[in-house]
Symmetry: D3
């Protein structure tokens, strides 16, 4: 279920914007999480298979501070068991009224080698999380403990996050723009195509910065492809 | 997991408003589904244990019309397997952009003796559903087939519905006002208390309709309780 | 602070739509409550000066069932003290997660001769309220007791309701479309003008139903005014 | 640009739910207007080509009561020029804070033989409109005159309505559930297919009402198709 | 009504996240303002008793530029009278369509020694406010003058802010995450407990950064408490 | 249709907050775009006449990647034809689910000398756009290509943006707070008045920073005007 290293490095070198276009060409339109943003824009790129946690609303008799002493509590268990290199993705029903996780758990994930964390709710201790070299994405800061609004119910089941479906093992990629979900079985080919497309977009970007019109190169004519081939050879990419 | 007949008949005789007060006295504040309303106000009262279906967002490669030929598809399987007397409750992430179910499936549930159906999304064929003697609750009419936005993923797992937690077996009660969720293990005692409270509220309602001030009877003083005892004896309730 | 009987009868004979136009001519644009609708379309028209109640969010240590035994609790006090002929208007911060009031209190207001009740939150016991010959307006049914979300804090202070300002004594008018707020000091002249405008609109409506084009009569040309004068004389209005 | 009579009668005999499925089979997912509902459920079915009006937000110096004296004002012009049999569709940016149209204009459209009216904002005079034998769809009642919030800017340009694209001439169909938009060039074939599909669904509905399981008939097996053929012959449809 | 200096310094040293947990232990769940964020993350911590201002919607005849010449206008009066060390908290009905206050008034509060300002609407002149060494919290920038949408009506009455109740004198604490409201009478003990809890969390954070599992220390076992005691002694905190 | 250079430089020296006040004095209340914010706070001020693009929702058969090869596609055509010095303003129905434009097109606009770009939806490639010395305003990052949700339909027609009307040629001004729209024909006089008002506000700001009360100078008394005159003379502004 791991992601191949070449795929990981390609995905870390392309933007979520480019990835959504490659996925759109395959008929997938709903791949970019709505309302989810990076806490620390200086964190490294986030790439890894999804490991999921699902919340339902809390109930006062079930959700009290005592629950965390149980080592099988899904939130705590997940934080200790999410495989290194994976992305911890949380379905919080887009509700940031209570925290999906906080600074200590996020630190533990980081130290365990997890690749990043995403919720469509909110995190607490966000000023601290913003200083970690660890990618974290949420909807809004949420100081209250999760017990006030969320009950952890499942680990590694299919979930919704930011109104996008996330199946465990799907490849999650995050950059400064947001988070995209790539179905596991097409991740390798999407990575290859996005990497190629990025080269071409870099070429176009360079030409447009030199003052070129977009007509003829974006989208490209046949001539532009030849020019691109020369540019690519010259720039050794 | 069935609900005792005395409990069922008591719950069918009290309002969701009274039930939320009895639950509030036990510390439960979040028991009334938000944004969910009755399609047919003339349908019978809805009382029964929850049987749940969970949707996540659809994905174009997985959710096409062919999926329904699979008899293990959770939506179709659930419609045939939900036990008679139970309430079919659907987590649709409060999204009515596509149907949670339609007229044929709702008819099948009704004919199978199911007690009612609830979604926090929407139903299709609502003009037809509105004419069935079967309680159905949703957020808004939703003509498009569920495949456009919803992927059925789980049967009988804990879910969110109208931002209330629903555990399979919880007792679901619906009236003309909306839907309340009662934790299974306290349903009997809640039914008893709500039934008693309803008697008292009927007494108060009668007195207020006769022109009495609410002071002294709502909430009640000791004297009002004596008067209520006489009223109850006289009205043989 | 009462409303003159002639003004009351004129306001009961015109629509909220016409009233908003007359108010717009005086520079008032924000007079129709947003998101507030009639529970019982068969209730009589609602006309009367505003008597207001303001809620802020509840706090668990302050808002428990014991508070209602205090006769000075603003919600209960207001229900007993709102003058007959007035409209009870509640600022619930547009939040229908808990009830602004319920069937017993609404019945008490009705029996006391109050002219109607409005909240921008929700009522509980709405199936019962819908059967009373008493105008009640809200955003959505709300079974839970107000204590879960609302704390009554003020009587007869200026409030917001449906994002419209309501000053105590402002004239509140409700019909099957919704609720409009008329500043107290211009209510008499607004009533006169709206009554006249309604006559003209009835004339136009009749002509349009006969097949006439709107050009020339809506808005009116000089000729149309003459025709209207003859129509009015003939129809003795 | 008119719709063929056979197509019109077929579309009047099928539901918006069935139509969205037929459109989904052609790859069109976004065809049902969000948040738009029928004012009068007893009105006849609405079928006709779209004639569109677009609003942008009002500006105080441009949008005063005097504008309606201008016969070229798009709202008034459109009401007089919308061809009989067409549906008048209004882009109100999903904003019901002011009326898209009112009772007199709706009456005029009805008398002129227009097939119906739709806005994703609101109408004024809705109690009156609800009594007309004329299909009207909106988001919420809106008493204030359109000038307070809307400026009519275009007639018969492509618009958004309920977040669905509407091109002039697209076939608009409304039933008790809501409104669907059919691209003009496929309307005839969609009508044929939906009519056929409705027959089959009527057959399934009848069988399910008789107690049949959905498995084998919904979706259908080969045997079910043979049974359907016999049913169809027998019921002469 | 002032806050004790020891309490103030403790509250300035703990996070809003920790405070919400301490308040949750006392049964208070709704203490963190929703949708309110810091304008200047570099400003000092905000701690102080609440001094409140309440807005209702504006009305064109009452809310014109002339109102500010009146020295008793609540907004202007409040800015001059809010006691030093207090936090100026504004109920703007979560509406950022017009400013709750602007750069000059915020500067005046800062110079007068006020501890900070909070609105659940928006401020104008936010680029300027962001450069002041003064904590300011809002929902979104709002260039238009408050008169366009807000009417100042009350000083120092109980209000809602971010859907949290705020009573004058409640202790308001803000950090980079957001704003929490502490009931006045428990502020001292909450400060003590939060300060102690912060020490323990710092210990846990340090251990987790060293690579320790959360099991055993978060939440703590008995052994962890002993280890914490040694750590505390050693680090002299 | 160009903006005079003196007007441009005055508008670049005043804040959007001041401009909304000057427009409010002329009766214009709805001039500040709701929900639209700067991507790069370090970009220069944005001032220029509006050049507009309108999107309606996409339709799968019309909106595929092939459309961009058509040089008359409104989005691409607009990017090449928007006059230098103008602001490119896009009506995206406040929907950031797909991009209104991306990094390459924004770069092209910048290189062509366009003054800035605004959408009430979202841009893609926002990390790149944030580094350009070019003012760009949107609601939220939106990685997916516009085809997924938007269909470009009009160039230079009146549009809505952030629920403000924008007529081609209206003067658009953006600062770190947001975007204001000035009707073209009053732009010169608004610029003059705002420039003067800014001088006075700078004077007040300076005095308030020195510790002066707002009473007497904000709003100003006659004496304050004299003091301002002396200040102005001394500071040679």
């Amino acid at each position: 279920m791991a992601v191949a290293e070449t795929t990981r490095s390609r995905l870390a070198a392309v933007s979520t914007a480019t990835l959504t276009t490659v996925l759109f060409k395959r008929g997938l339109r709903n791949t970019f999480m709505q309302g989810v943003r990076a806490i620390n824009p200086d964190a490294p790129r986030m790439v890894g298979p999804a490991y999921t946690l699902r919340y339902i609303p809390a109930r006062e008799d079930l959700d009290h501070l005592g629950v965390f002493t149980d080592r099988s509590h899904p939130q705590r268990k997940g934080v200790e068991e999410c495989p290194p290199g994976h992305v911890f993705v949380i379905d919080s029903r887009r509700n940031p009224a209570a925290a999906s996780a906080g600074g200590i758990l996020v630190t533990r994930l980081w130290k365990r080698g997890v690749a990043g964390i995403v919720t469509d709710g909110g995190f607490r201790d966000t000023p601290h999380i913003a200083r970690l070299p660890f990618p974290a994405y949420h909807a809004a800061p949420a100081a209250p403990t999760n017990l006030i609004r969320h009950h952890a119910v499942d680990l590694n089941a299919p979930i919704a996050c930011g109104e996008v479906p996330v199946y465990p093992g799907d490849i999650i990629v995050g950059d400064g723009e947001g988070v995209v979900v790539i179905p596991q079985q097409i991740a390798d080919e999407v990575a290859v195509e996005a990497f190629e497309q990025t080269l071409f977009e870099d070429f176009v970007q360079e030409k447009v910065e030199e003052g070129r019109s977009i007509f003829g190169i974006y989208p490209h004519s046949g001539e532009a492809l030849e020019e691109f081939a020369r540019w690519r050879e010259k720039s050794k990419r």
